[in-house]
């Protein structure tokens, strides 16, 4: 794939603003995806929001993908996905960050490789979305004001949307106190 086939105008702006950074970009059925190195994410997102040619004023969604067992060649185990929308230009862009874990993904220990810069200072609406990504995938966001689990409870012992987590869980749904008729 060559850059010439990509028609999204924001790609040229980003390339001009970061001449030394290697980006990947792809287009599928009119939707453009830009893959950004994790270290440069926050700068790129700031340009995408503030540059008048980009003007992505609205963060539609933050989510993540676990590529474990993916049937096609993949770039990394995890990807954090940002869906951007510019109301001014009526234009969308998907930004992806690839992450490879260094620790065993079955545990909940903080993995320094699974960390990206938070974009809550650019789009305040990212706060709960990033919390959900953390809750489900264990990807942490540096600079997030309140990075707690949002759906599951605090002591949940796994990140359940990782593909190596079994669908039925590891017994979390069975460990409770049992009330009997005599319970007071």
């Amino acid at each position: 794939m060559t850059v010439a086939t990509l028609t999204h105008p924001s790609l040229a702006t980003i390339k001009g603003a970061f001449p030394s950074v290697a980006f990947l970009a792809s287009e599928f059925r009119g939707q453009t995806t830009l893959v950004v190195p994790a270290a440069r994410l926050h700068e790129v997102m700031r340009v995408l929001r503030d540059h008048p040619d980009c003007d992505f004023n609205f963060l539609v969604d933050v989510t993540a993908v676990d590529y474990l067992g993916y049937p096609a060649p993949v770039q990394a185990r995890f990807a954090v996905v940002y869906c951007l929308l510019s109301h001014q230009h009526d234009r969308r862009l998907t930004v992806k960050v690839n992450l490879d874990p260094t620790l065993d993904t079955k545990g909940t220990a903080a993995d320094p490789a699974l960390e990206v810069e938070s974009v809550t200072d650019l789009w305040p609406g990212a706060e709960w979305l990033e919390r959900e990504v953390f809750d489900m995938f264990g990807i942490r966001f540096r600079g997030h004001p309140d990075l707690r689990r949002i759906l599951l409870w605090r002591d949940f012992p796994a990140f359940p949307l990782r593909k190596d987590y079994p669908l039925r869980g590891r017994g979390e749904r069975e460990h409770f106190q049992t009330l009997t008729r005599e319970s007071r």
């Binding site: 409870w153 359940p160 039925r168 749904r173 409770f176 106190q177 009330l179 009997t180």
Partner: protein, 189 residues
Amino acid sequence: MGIESALPVDSILTTQLQRVVNWSRRSSVWPMPFATACCGIELMATACSRFDLARFGAEVMRFSPRQADLLIVAGRVSVKMLPVLQRIYMQMTEPKWVISMGACASTGGVFDTYAVVQGVDQFIPVDVYVPGCPPRPEMLIEAIMAIQRIIDNDAIPRDGEGARLPLNIAVQPNFEPRSQPVPVTVGTT
């Protein structure tokens, strides 16, 4: 209700106190609806005019567990919701009964995942199970009638050591499924 007109004015009825208490309890079962899913819609339909739960004295839905004596668990219970359900059960005053309504409350149903409790009877005592996904209002009415039968027999049947005995009442559907509507062709043939 007319019974006093059929009897002489100064007549006396004798009965057992327990029977009078049971009669009054079975005639005014106040449900606490714990409706978390589509079973709750059928529960509402049961209380509405077409099925009219008031015929069985159970139309007073109480959203405070302290005023209710029948807990109807209608719908799937997630793992996060189970402590709430258990607290509601503990807050209800004795005597109390529990209906597990629908496949999800009884077994987890199709939601065989890490986040859903596979049957509330693992963690709270259940008196009557209602099958169905969701059960028809007739089945919920029969479940309430089963609760009334439990109350009638004896409020809390216990064994020699004071523990409540299982009642083993199975609710059967009491309606005949009708045939599907005939397909209609629209437009010219």
